[in-house]
């Protein structure tokens, strides 16, 4: 079951030329999270309680998990705490990972992002508003400001550069800023409906530019 190719092919605009995304980490992909099968297989070992495999999952995913959380939360100490919670959640629920609904890295990054956003929103309710002011000015150039610049970062940066300004701002404010689409509409001064479609179109363009296979 694990490692089975995702049952795709129904999506509109699905890139037909994309290859290698699940091919076991072609070297030119330069991702910090190795693509496809390998992480899925390691996760299967984690599900069986293999501590060494969990160490491997940590090594492959913790930097991206931490980076994503830090973009959203900003506070370094809190971000480390949430990163550990997310990795522990991966350990705990590894047996529940379903490869038919996406890659292991998408699963883990979804957990991480959601956890960070939940944390921000519960804090916002507790009136920590200055966080929003801080994240409102996020620029996509920050994608390259991390300590390590990998090929993956270069690629994502290039693909983000290919979006329209409104698409790019909508995507980065939502993903890296942790804002809801209604907040993004407010921040950008455009209609909610516009933001919704820009987010979708922006991500589709990003997906196609990255040659993501799903």
């Amino acid at each position: 079951m694990l490692g089975g190719e995702p049952d795709g092919g129904r999506g509109i605009g699905r890139p037909t030329s994309a290859d290698g995304a699940h091919g076991g980490g072609a070297p030119d992909r330069g991702q910090s999270v190795p693509a496809g099968r390998s992480l899925e297989l390691v996760l299967a070992d984690v599900a069986k309680g293999d501590h060494a495999a969990f160490g491997a999952v940590y090594d492959q995913t913790a930097p991206a998990v931490l980076g994503t959380i830090r973009r959203v939360l900003r506070d370094p100490a809190q971000s480390e705490e949430v990163m550990q919670e997310v990795l522990l959640e991966v350990w705990r629920t590894a047996a529940r990972f379903d490869p038919s609904v996406g890659s292991a890295s998408a699963w883990i990054m979804t957990l991480a992002h959601r956890r960070a956003v939940d944390r921000v929103r519960s804090e916002q309710r507790a009136a920590a508003r200055e966080l929003r002011a801080a994240t409102a000015t996020i620029d996509y150039d920050e994608v390259s400001d991390a300590a390590l610049t990998t090929l993956e970062q270069e690629r994502v940066r290039r693909c983000l550069g290919g979006l329209t300004d409104l698409q790019r701002e909508s995507v980065t404010l939502a993903y890296y800023g942790g804002h809801s689409y209604r907040e993004v509409a407010q921040l950008l001064g455009v209609a909610v409906g516009t933001v919704k479609t820009r987010m979708r179109d922006g991500l589709i363009r990003l997906r196609d530019c990255l040659g993501v296979e799903w």
Binding site: R10, L66, Q84, M109, A126, E152, R200, L203, W214
Partner: protein, 250 residues
């Protein structure tokens, strides 16, 4: 109807970036199981967001690796979902099966005791009813979108696990491998807030080293959850230092 569905479908981009909240999110998630195109798009766009995550990578401090792996070694893993019980995507609704099972087990054990001891049936029914109510409260907390799991080492031995929903202002507490106490003593939970400690329930001892579950409601900002050892006769406030203390605020 068609335009409503179309409008929901447009949300797919915002949805995979966790930018859909409240009712919108509930509507979209209700729509999702019946919309193959949406599921396909969610799948594809999530892969794109995973690249956004990878592009943000920063190396964690080296000592965090050891800490995290050690925490994993102390954390029990969930069993796989059995066929027929659909898995949800992306860690959305987390279905934790072991806690309700523990409750069901406790109910069975209670029923068995009733037969042996000949406890009055209506008393038993009332207790089972209470257990059932607690069971549904537990399921609600574990199934909530913002369910967060915290684990902590108990000073005197064992591990405490808290699954908490900020939205529901409620948590489920369980412990594993606690040091057993003489019959004159019990483990008791307390909500320790700025206004002092309020009792949050005695910890029933379960089976196979498990204790609990206990549902704690009406959490307030700033609350911490403490576990103390108290005389089994009961006490209005904690009389000993907590053996574990869990900060509940994010």
């Amino acid at each position: 109807m068609r335009s409503r569905r179309g409008a929901l479908h447009t949300l797919v981009g915002a949805y995979v970036m966790d930018a859909v909240t409240g009712r919108d999110r509930a509507d979209f998630e209700r729509h999702l199981p019946s919309c193959e195109q949406c599921q396909d798009d969610v799948r594809g766009l999530r892969e794109a967001t995973a690249h956004l995550a990878a592009a943000a990578a920063v190396p964690p401090r080296p000592e965090l690796r050891e800490q995290t792996i050690r925490a994993a070694e102390r954390t029990r893993q969930l069993p796989p979902l059995v066929p027929g019980q659909p898995a949800r995507h992306g860690g959305g609704v987390r279905v934790h099966s072991w806690l309700p099972r523990l409750v069901a087990g406790a109910a069975l054990a209670l029923a068995a005791t009733a037969i042996v001891l000949g406890v009055h049936l209506s008393t038993m029914q009332a207790r089972l009813g209470a257990l059932e109510q607690r069971d549904s409260a537990i399921t609600a907390i574990l199934g909530s979108h913002d369910a967060t799991t915290l684990t902590a080492q108990v000073r005197t031995g064992g591990t405490a696990t808290v699954v908490m929903s900020h939205r529901a202002r409620a948590l489920v507490f369980t412990a594993h491998g606690l040091t057993s106490l003489p019959t004159s003593k019990v483990y008791e939970l307390w909500l320790m807030g700025p206004a002092g400690a309020t009792p949050a329930g005695m910890l029933p001892s379960g089976h196979h080293g498990m204790s609990g579950p206990v549902v704690v409601n009406r959490l307030a900002p700033g609350d911490r959850l403490g576990l103390t050892v108290e005389p089994s006769a009961g006490t209005g406030r904690p009389t000993s230092a907590p053996v574990v203390m869990v900060a509940l605020s994010p």
